[in-house]
């Protein structure tokens, strides 16, 4: 390479070296265990971006219970606690009561939050526990290989509902945001998705609000992210979003189910 070309290249680098995209500081460089096209990667990144923007990494403790997200303790740069299946809200309660000035979030899947951990969820919510819960609803148990979840749709075929979820025997899916929005301790209950750049931005805004409400001491916040599981659904990532839009969103409409500040006319 000649000297003149070299210096021209350097000049170009100097002019263009503004960083436009990088890994948030709140994420480590660990390689995640998520399948290609899974929504976890997007949502986990959004949480990390919010932690960065609020400048709270040093005061934040995350709780990751059993499910696909259980190894998130390796993915976040803040202090992390792995919890038993369904118990994240109780573990987060213990953390937050000892560390009232810290920011405590729990990152839970649908089997964890709405099945084995429903009691912990409802009671943390009704106590108005000042924690932020990120809830991944992909209508299936991902880590164990695709079993029926409490949020699996009527007729949905899974490993443990091979003929489709029969509501006569397996009952109906639970709409978590609607359920929790009836509780006085809940500050924010919002359902979002991450299937488009617009929706990703909306989801991030909601996650940020959930953290802000915690910092303001307003109560329990939950952001339900209607998500995909391409691997266990048996679709490509883009077909999975298509299936989600056609089947999940009608059952789980996006929107704000409770916002304590909006209700008080503060927003």
């Amino acid at each position: 390479m000649s000297a003149s070309i070299d210096s021209a290249a350097n000049e170009m680098v100097d002019k263009k070296s503004e960083i436009l995209f990088e890994r948030p500081h709140a994420l480590t460089d660990a390689i995640t265990n998520y399948c290609p096209g899974c929504s976890h990667g997007i949502v986990q990144r959004l949480v990390a971006e919010v932690i960065d923007e609020l400048g709270i990494e040093g005061e934040t403790v995350g709780v990751c219970p059993v499910g696909c997200s259980v190894m998130a303790y390796d993915f976040y740069s803040c202090d992390m606690v792995q919890a038993a299946h369904g118990r994240a809200p109780a573990v987060a309660t213990g953390l937050k009561r000892v560390l009232p000035d810290s920011v405590v979030f729990a990152y839970q899947g649908d089997g964890d939050l709405a099945s084995i951990g429903m009691a912990e969820t409802i009671h943390a919510a009704t106590r108005g526990e000042k924690i932020s819960v990120i809830f991944i609803n992909n209508a299936i148990y991902g880590m164990t290989g695709g079993q029926m979840a409490p949020t699996s749709l009527p007729g949905q075929v899974t490993q443990t509902s091979p003929y489709g979820r029969d509501t006569e025997t397996a009952g109906y899916p639970i709409r978590v945001c609607e359920l929790l929005s009836t509780l006085d301790g809940v500050a924010l209950a919002q359902r979002v998705t991450v299937d488009s750049p617009k929706n990703v931005r909306l989801a991030k805004k909601a996650i940020r609000k959930a953290f802000e409400y915690q910092i303001q001491g307003l109560g329990y916040s939950i952001i339900e992210v209607v998500s995909t599981c391409p691997t266990n659904w048996g679709f490509s990532p883009s077909d999975a979003f298509e299936w989600m839009r056609d089947n999940m969103l009608p059952y789980y409409p996006l929107g704000i189910y409770k916002d304590i500040k909006a209700a008080k006319g503060e927003q």
Binding site: D79, L95, R97
Partner: protein, 370 residues
């Protein structure tokens, strides 16, 4: 001299925890430990701490898990059926190396059982506090004074070895009132900092992780082996037992908690009859005080274990004695309390050198061996 106050055992446990620097209590109502939770509910807010009535035993132990991860001295209390439910959380605490104090004021079982005093959870406490390869340290008080004294030891050992510690009491000790000299309160700010705690890194260190998951088999084995080395140290250094008239004892009773109180009276009665009886009272059930058993082996001609169960600790006594003398058992269960005279009959039988298991109906109806 420290002034003594008259207190229930359950209240002494609670007050001693506060004095040991515990400011976080998570529990769920169950008889016969209720006074403990009620005491905490009253005192904690005034002491600047947190009392939280959880939605379940499962939630309570997981709140303890979270509070311990945050670095706090934390306690929960329950009674037998409730401790079964806590088993999951205890196992996770063992796996994540989290200290905490767990009180079990035992009642009769299995199932809902009854609400009368019992020692039927010895196996659960010493063998299977939860799934997996692991142990909790188990203390067994036998007086209200000891209820108070052992709480501080429980917090100290828990923090030192990073293991959960159980205090295995029973409904009799929990409900009875005795004079107690309460320990001096410690300043919790004087406790050493827990460098492993997940309390926010503050930009001053890399992130801490509290975790019990190891998907690589070798890593899991390594952590379990490391923990077992701590268990070995605990077995070496933390065995605790009280002896009573054992120096020349030919019949050595082994009993803990409420059963030890009854056995002590029976030993005194046996001495009046000219039988050289003595008593070993384990204060730690895990580690089991095998060293103390060893000290009496040269003189002892037979052992008699007395429990409020169908015979659980007797297995540990038999392991410690290892066939060198007969080890017999006498017990009542379900909340039935043996009388000293019943124990005396068993001592007389043991003095004749045979090994037997005396369980309730045999004792009452036939008095015979099983």
């Amino acid at each position: 001299m420290v002034e003594k106050v008259l207190m229930k055992g359950n209240e002494a446990l609670a007050e001693a925890a506060l004095r040991a620097g515990c400011r976080f209590f998570f529990g769920y109502p169950i008889t016969p430990q209720t006074e403990l939770a009620a005491y905490m509910a009253k005192r904690m807010p005034k002491a600047g701490g947190v009392y939280l009535q959880a939605e379940s035993e499962v939630a309570a132990i997981n709140m303890v898990y979270g509070a311990s991860a945050a670095g706090a001295r934390v306690m929960t209390s329950s009674s037998s059926p409730g401790v079964s439910l806590k088993g999951e959380g205890i196992s996770y605490m063992i796996g994540a190396d989290l200290p905490a104090v767990i009180i079990n004021v035992q009642r009769g079982g299995p199932g809902l059982g009854g609400i009368q005093p019992s020692q039927a959870d010895y196996w659960m406490a010493t063998r299977a506090a939860g799934h997996g390869d692991g142990h909790v340290i188990v203390f067994a008080p036998s007086t209200v004074q000891e209820m108070a004294d052992l709480v501080a030891s429980a917090f100290e050992l828990g923090d030192r070895y990073r293991v959960p510690v159980m205090i295995l009491a029973d409904g009799m000790l929990g409900q009875m009132m005795e004079p107690v000299a309460l320990p001096e309160p410690i300043d919790s700010r004087s406790l050493p900092e827990k460098e492993w705690a997940t309390n926010g890194h503050g930009g001053k260190r890399t992130h801490n992780i509290v975790n019990s998951l190891y998907l690589v088999a070798q890593q899991l084995e390594d952590t379990v082996v490391e923990r077992s080395q701590r268990y070995a140290r605990i077995k070496d250094e933390e065995q605790l037992a009280e002896t009573y008239l054992t120096e020349d004892a030919e019949v050595v009773l082994v009993a803990y908690g409420a059963a030890a109180r009854i056995s002590r009276t029976a030993v005194a009665k046996a001495r009046e009859l000219g039988i050289k009886a003595g008593l070993i009272r384990p204060v730690t059930l895990w580690p089991f005080p095998v060293d103390t058993i060893e000290t009496v082996i040269p003189v002892a001609k037979s052992f008699l274990t007395v429990e409020l169960s169908m015979g659980q600790m007797v297995e540990d006594v038999r392991l410690a004695v290892n066939g060198r003398s007969p080890v017999s058992f006498f017990g009542h269960t379900g909340g039935v309390i043996p009388t000293p005279d019943e124990v005396l009959v068993a001592i007389q039988k043991a003095a004749m050198g045979e090994q037997f298991d005396l369980v309730p109906y045999h004792t009452r109806l036939t008095g015979g061996a099983r």
